[in-house]
């Protein structure tokens, strides 16, 4: 069995975990009480999914999902770079969510027939929640993108800022040329971006044209922000190992 299955599980699981951790920072501070609950719900869904992905990877690596979440150092995380970008203002958070949901749903769709049974089961279970996430974030992006001058300007600068790190998600990490456990990232990139372009055409937001993608995650290089995220997330378990409720 190739390592691609573990890497894939970590890629998706770590992304969900880190993004959930970041979104949770909005709890109690979102623009409206309904948005607060909605974003918290999204974070909870992602944590649930992260448990499944990390559980699978952990089994193969001889660790528990908790060990993977709380004991690994930043260079071992395989989350997509988009997820560790700073929250910024609420519009930025929603744009990040929309881009992530687009990537996430496309990846899960392509895994519906994955050869590894556990992976395709987790994908099938997650896709219902993720479809709703995308529906919600897309709806908000469409609204903000057709709104006032201020909202359009903010969403435009968000997508411009997040675009390169978003593309990092299409990095190919299959071990071999015909790796049957990996995914066709080129195809994913094309279909995912086409859909985003279609969506944005109905708004005043201009989809960036370039495809200059950042790299580094798969080589263990992360942005500074991940350090801050992990400090919050791992502090308790690292200071008091094996602490339980």
């Amino acid at each position: 069995m190739s390592e691609s299955d573990v890497k894939l599980a970590l890629r998706i699981g770590d992304s969900a975990l880190i993004l959930a951790q970041q979104n949770s920072q909005w709890c109690g501070k979102a623009p409206s009480v309904e948005e607060d609950v909605a974003l918290a719900n999204t974070a909870l869904d992602l944590i649930g999914q992260a448990q499944l992905w990390l559980g699978y990877a952990g089994e193969k690596l001889g660790k528990s999902a908790d060990e993977l979440a709380y004991r690994r150092d930043s260079n071992a995380f395989l989350n997509v770079m988009l997820c560790e970008q700073k929250n910024g203002d609420y519009g930025n958070t929603i744009m990040r969510q929309y881009l992530f949901d687009s990537w996430h749903k496309a990846v899960l769709l392509s895994m519906q027939n994955h050869l590894v049974l556990e992976l395709n089961q987790i994908a099938k279970k997650s896709i219902k929640e993720v479809s709703y996430h995308l529906r919600r974030s897309r709806d908000l992006v469409m609204r903000l993108g057709q709104g006032s001058e201020v909202s359009i300007a903010k969403m435009q600068s968000s997508i411009d800022r997040l675009w390169s790190s978003f593309g990092e998600g299409f990095s190919n990490f299959s071990i071999h040329e015909n790796d049957e456990y990996g995914l066709d990232f080129q195809a994913l990139e094309a279909s995912c971006i086409e859909q985003i372009q279609q969506d944005l055409q109905q708004t005043q937001i201009i989809c960036p044209e370039h495809r200059i993608w950042q790299k580094g995650i798969l080589q263990g290089m992360h942005s500074e922000n991940l350090g801050h995220i992990l400090t919050d997330m791992q502090f308790l378990q690292k200071t008091y190992p094996n602490l339980k409720w």
Binding site: E34, V37, A38, Y132, R135, R136, D139
Partner: protein, 95 residues
Amino acid sequence: MMSTDWPLWEIFIRGQHGLSHRHVGSLHAPDETMALNNARDVYTRRNEGVSIWAVRSTDIIASDPDDKEELFEAAKSKIYRHPSFFEIPSEVKKL
């Protein structure tokens, strides 16, 4: 020209084994789509429902509590208005 205020909506949820939508609360949303999405997020967190109805609060016409006696007193003391002398078969218990 878009308005910046979010009207109030009343939310009704029908549970999986329920027969009717029950009022669960209210929320603010700018329009129908967000009213449904917000209702899904706020009121179906713990698997309570399969169907959501959202109604603008201003569209609900309610009876005046002060009229309670006028409107509802009559029904109380007339047992001949209730079909209480029939045997209801167990198959239609929910009637």
